[in-house]
Structures are given as structure tokens and as C-alpha cells.
Symmetry: C2
Subunit: 237 residues, 2 copies
């Protein structure tokens, strides 16, 4: 009998934000699969899981998905990765592939899951807490209330006009914002809204930062800016 | 010593999607607080927690937050609710207030948390899996990939032009869509995109529905429509 494939979101960084279902699957997995951009690369997702569970008797397998700008290279790498997973499943092993945050948010896992499913293997996607939810929680703010709308955009998306998005939406989450603070700050200044944004970086990790946006700020990869048109003030009772 | 206040997201419906942290807090809480729109009202969040944990020795307290159209009535009710929580904290009890999904997404919990904090009590917001992530997982689709943008809007938001949002964003999540399928369908038809939307209702519950959008569909309160401009097809390897 073939094994089953699980794409599992492990949440934003702190092992305590792993769900009961993800914990159960990780503990009972035959193989923990770690998607990497390059074999041997450090995996933040694996670091978190390793801290939380005893994995010494587990088989750990990196699966390489190259991020080349050449589409043919990317597809060939994906094909190899999926064939590697399929071989494990074919041998009857259950494979739990882990990803940071939630599976549906900026992860290749749903894509891989679909292809595994198309090959005829049983599979399940297991949701996790997205990083922007944890960022909002740590900043003590909501992402949307009542009938408000929320936009989630990566800082590197050049097709969307950031000013227009901020004008249209009550709340805006800008992901991967670490190297784009200047651009975001300039846009907010233009709209008179520099007081309406908070920078969150490495939430739940040791080097966590939560602070108002400032000109010339520079942060790491796991940086999210949250903009709230209504501001951050909650009236006292 | 005063107690601590926790606003805890318990995820989208299935108790297995509760996080390890939420589980630990619920188990050790002195008081489980259930926000209700009216005293005596059925709480879906409590039903889930009750299924997952042994609560027979716990003190369970409903906290009423009236949803009146009269702002003064709403604020007065909030004030009373917060005073009730504060009295528990003052007596040294830890209070865990539970909410469906994540705390930052369409919940009053961040608001209540801020007011409790303003009164000087220790507090913590504990993120959960938002319902739209679980909906995407069950539908086997992503909410955003690579540099794509995502919009999350409630169906009842009349300030936003739905057509414009769909045109601008790669992916759109429409919450509380149960009674607004006609409006959404008409908009998609107008854009030639009726094949690009999936309806998800009561995800993780017994009466779960996942199906393509259809004209004249009508569903319950917990209904989310996910629209993907790129469609749902993933190429075979």
C-alpha cells in the first residue's frame, strides 16, 4: 500500500504555534520532507520542528526546488522533487512536508500537493497560522474588523500601485518588506499616513522587532509591514 | 496578584487545528470566557473547545457584547463586558477568551484585549488558523503564490467595488458570502470568470461544502468564496 503525503504548515516561528494535527503528523511521520531552494541550505521550518520534537529516529529528507529565473530549470527541479517524494510514497512511507506559516500563503506546497494528487497518491493539506496573523497579535492590533477589507501584498509586487491599494483598503499587510521600507515610507508620507504603519520582523524568533515605521529602516527577510487606515488607537472604556 | 487575560484563536472549526499554545492555555485557565452577542446564545467556538477538552471543572463565563446598530448601546455593552473580565482578573483568576479562527481577523478580541491592557492587566493575544486558510486547504488551492496579491473582503462591504478588486488582485477571498452568491456570481459572469471561483461553507464541520460557484447558490453564515485569476489548474509533471 502506498504512503500518504501531507503538506503541513507549522506556523510563524514559535513551536507553540504548531497545531495539534501538525504535531500528531510530525510525530507519526515515516519521513519529514524539507523543501529547500538548494540542497544543504539551512531550513528555518526544520529548525523550529527540531526544537519542538524528538526527531532522532526520523528519516529527514531535503527536497530541492530550485528558484532559477529559467522556467525550464525550475520545472525540471520540481519534477525531480516530486518524483523523489513519489518514490517514498510508492515504498509505503508516509511523508510529512513542512512549511513555515500556512500552506496556502506564499508556499509552493499546494502546487506540489496537487501534483502528488495528480499522480494518484492520497494527500492532505494541513493549515497553519500565517506569519502576518502572529505579527498582528504581537503588535496588539487587528487585521480587519466588522466590514473592513484587508489586502496582503508582497513588497516586490510591481504590478500593483501601492498608493492605490492603501487608498482602497482599510488594512494592508506588506510581506517581505525588509528591503523596501524606503519605498513604503515614501508612499505613506505622500498619503500623510506615516503614523499608521508598524514594522514587524522575525516575529516569534529571538531577534523579533515590532516598531513604528521609520525612514531608512532596513530589516531581514521575515519582515511584514501592517498599515491601518483607522490607526492603532482604541478608546479607553 | 491580578490574573492574566488571554485572547485565544481556536482555529476554523476542527479541534485538531487548535495550536499547542491555545490547548495549554485552555487546559490551565481558571475561567474560559465566551464572547456572545446575547447571553444564552449558542457559541460555535465553545462547542469546539468543549469537544476537545475536559471542561467539567472549569468555570465558564459568557461575556455579552451586544451588536446593536445604536453605537451608544454597543459601547455600553462593551464597557460592561470589559468590567466583568476585569473583575475576574482583579480576583487573581486567569481568563482565556476564545474566538473562532484567528484573533486578528474579524474578531472583537483585539479591541477587548487593548482595553484590558489599558486598564493595566497583563495580556496576550494567541493567534489561530484563520478560516480562509482552512478553506483554501480543503479546496486544495493556494491563496497566493510568488509575487501574487491577495484581497480579503466581507461580502457586505459596500464601499469596495468588487469588480475593481477582482480586476486588481490575483486572488480574492470573500467572507460571509452565504447570502451574497448571486451578486458575486453576476460580477464574475461579467468578467468571464465564473470558472475561477470556489464556494467553501462550514469547513471542518459536519455540513462542510466545497463546490464551484453556481447561480442562485445560498449557504449559511460560515461561507467563503475564493476567486483565483490564474484558475485552479496545476500542470502534471
Amino acid at each position: 500500500m502506498s504512503g500518504k503525503f501531507y503538506s503541513v504548515g507549522i506556523g510563524p516561528g514559535n513551536p507553540e504555534f504548531i497545531t495539534l494535527r501538525a504535531a500528531k503528523l510530525i510525530k507519526s511521520a515515516d519521513i519529514i520532507a524539507i523543501p529547500v531552494k538548494k540542497y544543504g541550505e539551512k531550513s528555518t521550518a526544520f529548525d523550529i520542528v527540531e526544537k519542538a520534537f524528538d526527531l532522532k529516529d526520523k528519516r529527514i529528507e531535503e527536497i530541492e526546488f530550485l528558484m532559477s529565473s529559467d522556467k525550464a530549470v525550475r520545472l525540471e527541479s520540481r519534477k525531480k522533487g516530486i518524483e523523489k517524494i513519489a518514490a517514498f510514497l510508492e515504498s509505503g512511507k508516509n511523508v510529512v512536508m513542512i512549511t513555515l506559516g500556512d500552506v496556502s500563503i506564499y508556499s509552493t506546497c499546494t502546487y506540489i500537493n496537487k501534483q502528488i494528487k495528480n499522480l494518484g497518491y492520497e494527500n492532505e493539506i494541513v493549515s497553519g497560522v500565517p506569519s502576518f496573523c502572529a505579527a498582528a497579535a504581537k503588535a496588539g492590533i487587528s487585521l480587519c474588523e466588522e466590514n473592513e477589507a484587508l489586502a496582503v501584498i508582497p513588497a516586490v509586487n510591481t504590478e500593483l500601485d501601492l498608493k492605490k491599494v492603501i487608498e482602497m483598503f482599510d488594512n494592508v499587510v506588506i510581506m517581505k518588506a525588509g528591503k523596501n521600507i524606503d519605498k513604503i515610507y515614501a508612499c505613506l508620507k505622500n498619503l500623510g499616513m506615516t503614523e499608521n504603519a508598524v514594522v514587524t520582523s522575525c516575529v516569534g524568533m529571538e531577534n523579533e522587532v515590532i516598531e513604528p515605521i521609520k525612514e531608512n529602516g532596513s530589516y531581514g527577510y521575515f519582515t511584514t509591514v501592517i498599515i491601518k487606515k483607522q490607526g492603532f488607537t482604541v478608546p479607553d472604556i
